[in-house]
């Protein structure tokens, strides 16, 4: 599983960080950082929830 963020869309709303802080972090510079680009498979449901709940639909999951 690979987490892909479209940074042209991302507005750092940080919803993803609220759901899965191990993978997504918005830092004090207000930018989103992906901490694990290839998170373990057991995190897939949560990563998919992050993708669904992103207000900008900026996150996608590639197999």
């Amino acid at each position: 599983m690979k987490v892909v963020v479209d940074y042209d869309l991302c507005e750092s709303n940080a919803v993803c960080m609220g759901i899965l802080p191990e993978v997504f972090e918005v830092r004090d510079d207000d930018f989103l950082y992906v901490l694990q680009e290839n998170p373990p498979e057991d995190l897939r449901p949560k990563v998919e929830e992050c993708a669904r709940r992103c207000p900008k639909q900026a996150i996608s999951v590639e197999d």
């Binding site: 750092s12 960080m17 207000d30």
Partner: protein
């Protein structure tokens, strides 16, 4: 799972579509009929007051989040069909051309803007809810009007004003209260937002009532209650929304500023509600809520779908920390939790003058809300803590430690 074969969803906006997707994700294989009054899929609304209105995006980019996956949901999707009535006991949905029987039903009919005048009364007076509304305003803005008047300094009004300024248009905002966004943000923070609009060239008039509109075929001005006239070539009215519950008269459901549900989003046996139209007791805050936010439409749509499939003893309370964002100029405002009726408001990080801060809200012994301006990280961290039920004192103590976590 109990035997459920026919689910009907009334409303194909964010809550309704999310519910449909959730039903399929949960393994439900029966029919899902979605009845939608509009003639096509409602758009994703947040860009309507921002990117689409500014002209930066073409309308197709404001497709709803699940639009690309919708074929996979295997829906019986009926556009242009307005639900006419509901018989809860008989489990029948009345449509203009017949009746639809259901085992489970979700009410997700959303809300409609309040109007100050009849919509057809004069050209150039708009509300903003649908893509058609958005494109009608955009078309008026493309004609480079001399002045846009926004009635109501709520979030829609504030975002429309900011977008108009980004297009270089002159903007007047009329607000009945003494502070912009006062109803949602309270006097201090609302004052900061009002100052930001003034600094960006908005003529913000507070504490003024609108008496009526002047003009013949097309609006030419807005008459205020002090007798004065504000010239206007385009008017956008953003004075709130009312839940779409008129069709539920006599249904057996309780309606009181929204469809009244229990703590699990159930309005009657086999019937749930979600999104702008739903009122339910949020146990985390110990109060009844009706939430008009994008994020809630998504979460509650999913929760209500799971509720409809739940067997005896499987239902769980829906008790989220509401959250929304608003982008105005270069500021991102985010609010997590519930701040109406708070006992105390304290700026805990940053400061109001630098317009980059976090304000925390206390009710009784608990932290119940945080409001951030350009502080998305902290708002989301606090959102998690509010969900955990953190006390005010513990929240302040964590801040004092200046935590590495923060």
């Amino acid at each position: 799972m109990v035997e459920v074969r026919r689910v009907v969803i009334v409303g194909a906006s964010l809550a309704g579509l999310t519910a449909a997707e959730t039903l399929r994700d949960a393994g439900y294989e029966g029919t899902i009929t979605v009845v939608e009054a509009a003639s096509s899929l409602p758009p994703d609304r947040p860009p309507l007051s921002k990117q689409v209105l500014s002209g930066e995006w073409e309308p197709h980019r404001a497709a709803p989040p699940s639009a690309e996956r919708i074929d996979d949901f295997d829906l019986d999707l009926r556009f242009g069909v307005r639900a006419a009535g509901l018989d809860v006991g008989g489990r029948r949905l009345e449509l203009p051309d017949g009746t639809l029987r259901f085992d489970r039903l979700l009410v997700a009919t959303g809300a409609s803007p309040r109007h100050l005048s009849r919509p057809e009364a004069m050209e150039g007076i708009h509300v903003l809810r649908t893509m058609e509304d958005c494109l009608a305003i955009r078309s008026d803005l493309d004609a480079e009007p001399g002045r846009v008047v926004v009635v109501g300094a709520g979030f829609i009004g504030a975002e429309v004003a900011a977008t108009c300024r980004s297009r270089g248009l002159e903007v007047t905002v009329l607000e009945a209260l003494d502070v912009a966004l006062g109803r949602v943000l309270g006097p201090e923070i609302g004052g900061v937002v009002g100052d930001i609009h003034r600094d960006n060239g908005v003529d913000l008039k507070l504490g003024v009532g609108v008496e009526g509109f002047e003009g013949s075929d097309r609006v030419g001005g807005v008459r205020l209650n002090d007798g004065s006239l504000v010239a206007a070539d385009v008017v956008v009215v953003g004075v709130g929304v009312v839940p779409n519950t008129g069709w539920l008269a006599g249904s057996g459901l309780t309606v009181d500023d929204g469809v009244v549900c229990d703590e699990t989003c159930l309005a009657a046996p086999g019937v749930a509600a979600a999104g702008d139209v739903a009122r339910w007791p949020n146990q985390l805050f110990g109060r009844s809520m009706r939430v008009e936010h994008w994020d809630n439409a998504l979460e509650q749509g999913a929760a209500a779908a799971r509720r409809l499939l739940a067997g005896a003893g499987e239902a769980v309370p829906y008790a989220p920390v509401p959250w929304f964002w608003s982008d105005q100029y270069d500021r991102k405002i985010q609010l997590a939790g519930w701040i109406d009726g708070a006992d105390e408001c304290k700026v805990v990080e940053g400061s109001l003058p630098e317009r980059r801060f976090v304000a925390a809200y206390r009710r009784g012994p608990r932290l119940t809300g945080v409001l951030g301006m350009n502080r998305p990280r902290q708002v989301m961290q606090f959102r998690t803590r509010i969900a955990e039920g953190i006390t005010w004192d513990d929240a302040l103590a964590e801040l004092d430690q200046g935590g590495d976590e923060r």
